[in-house]
Subunit: 245 residues, 2 copies
Amino acid sequence: MNETIELLNSHRSIRKFKGERLGQATIEELVRAGQAAATSSFLQACTVIQVEDPDKRAQLAECAGGQAYVADAAAFLVFCADMKRHQLCCEMHHAEMQSGFTEQFITATADCALFAQNVAIAAESLGLGIVYIGGLRNRIDRVAELLKLPDLVYPVFGLCLGYPDQDPEVKPRLPLDVVLKKDGYDDSGDLERIRAYDDNVREYYRTRTGGNKEMSWSEQISGMLIKEARPHMLAFLQRQGFLKR
Amino acid sequence: MNETIELLNSHRSIRKFKGERLGQATIEELVRAGQAAATSSFLQACTVIQVEDPDKRAQLAECAGGQAYVADAAAFLVFCADMKRHQLCCEMHHAEMQSGFTEQFITATADCALFAQNVAIAAESLGLGIVYIGGLRNRIDRVAELLKLPDLVYPVFGLCLGYPDQDPEVKPRLPLDVVLKKDGYDDSGDLERIRAYDDNVREYYRTRTGGNKEMSWSEQISGMLIKEARPHMLAFLQRQGFLKR
């Protein structure tokens, strides 16, 4: 295993950061590394909003359900799926853009995630810690307003970055044979594999919380999925010009 | 700049591979590195299908619009957004899963992209070349059938891996100030920046093709976006149980 793979395998989310800031040159280095990721059909559909304004940070932390590290992290980036610049390209060439396709939503969303993961890895390679903030989608309309996002742009997730002030364990992942299949989908046997994994996850939480939390993976997932999942999302995205057809 | 960031910045798609195969241990090492990526709410919503069967490979190459390297690459992986295993978790706990939310589609799709990008970087760190195959979505119904994908699973993209038998240049990316904004979205000035970038891209294609192709970025984008984008996508995804509300 080489150093890069060791780095990838050592990822854990960091939610407590030292006060030390990041220089703008570092942030730009990270974003350039993000741009180097593959992009679907060369669309380059990701725009990053670096939020420095403390008041905006505080409001975004609220939007994310009160995650204080959104306000406290050395840097906070919001990755936006952006088809507006493609509309600009069409205008430059007097062409009428066909927008609102689900396919475009997939490519723009995937572009952001590939981009962001490069930023995350580059950051971790510099000794920084990161945590993705999907919680921004709790109040996605308010986030879009705060960041002045126009039509054809939506915030996929945020990313906190900073020097770690904690050293959590790596969280155990599903057994390999649950996530890797050969030649076709076949989940026979996965039930038993998930039961074995449940024991690992229960043990992980027990150790980490000194016995205060003992929850298996399947319990956690089923507890989450009996509830509605951000039911405002489709209407919001359609208002922004996505997922209309 | 450290070695990891250099590796990220040196990415280019590889579409011509040497015959040398990859051992199963290597593929498993790459997939484990993929699993180590962040996952939204611990959902772990990515399943990888490793396609070894030569007939299936050939048919997938056809689905992708005749991309021969899908058949020829040392390995071909299909990254599937998978909420079926969460249904299994709900069944284990006699809970009724609320599915079909757009939010779940976003998290599962993003999970796959984060996972895949870790696989891609791990592969490149081992001297392998990669290319993402979004073209699978041309004939996504056929791909789902070939790979026996059940409800609540969809193929986001494929990934070819192998030892590079070509050495293409890194493709120039948009200027940093087009993709990185501070505190809010503001694209004033982007038109001029894109015009300058257009010259870079035209030069890149001219050099790469010995003068046979001279196309700017904005021309390429506008030429693509005047057409419908895989208009079958929404109906397919809804049939699979996604994007219903």
